[in-house]
Amino acid sequence: MSKIKVVPCSGIGKVFGLMARESALRVTDVLASDICETACLAHIVSGDDEARAKVEGLNCISVDGCPALCAAKSIKASGGIVKAEFRVVDIMKEHRGKNAGDGTALSEEGWIITDDLADRIAAKAIEIAKEVE
């Protein structure tokens, strides 16, 4: 079985992009490395055949920083199956008033929220993996 692709937006302008990136990395490296891997979003959206093959027909989880949903839209446009969409802005609503840091570095609170997001993504990935077994 192919690994589930966890693809973050990595938007560079705001802290949300960094949180998406770090949460995805934690899932693919630490929490669920046996069933998940990531893929370069910039390469996917470049549209070449090699990039398309990274997601086409495969189960994916998108992790977007903002409501523009660049990762989710780009995966779908390349033929990927988005089994779950996560948005950092939604998680941040549960942490109103918290300072997560900025696009360069996460604050201590930012890391806690990011790790929480990673836990949720990993749990979803495990659920998806069980479904397709």
């Binding site: 938007g11 560079i12 302008g13 934690r26 490296d29 979003l41 910039a42 660049c70």
Partner: protein, 134 residues
Amino acid sequence: MPNVQIGVLSCSGEEMLGGTLARMATRKVMEKLRIGRVVSLCLPLYIAGGEEERNFAKEFPVISVDGCDKSCAKIATLKYSGEVKDTVIISELLGKDVVLSKMVSARDLTDVHYKMVDIIAEEICKKVDAIVAE
């Protein structure tokens, strides 16, 4: 071009260290080395149809910063805005092996990584200054 703003479009590639370095160097140039001169453009948003990003890239000079020689940032800029004023390809600066090595979380970065970021940031600054001097 004394008052011109310059856009820097960085790849942020998630599969390798080069993406992390590209992203960090771009942020460093924008926040510390060329404050007010450089604007970072969000590549996923740019490609997904972000009008603000694309219009900026049509009006102002853009430098693409790519981790590897797939040059996704450069290709995207050429496709949607027509011109890339200059490019930085990190694999040409630091070598393919370094750039294609495993991505590292921001919490695990070492002095070696920060030195690499400095080299890339310096290269971006050279390109920025050359454009300003035109």
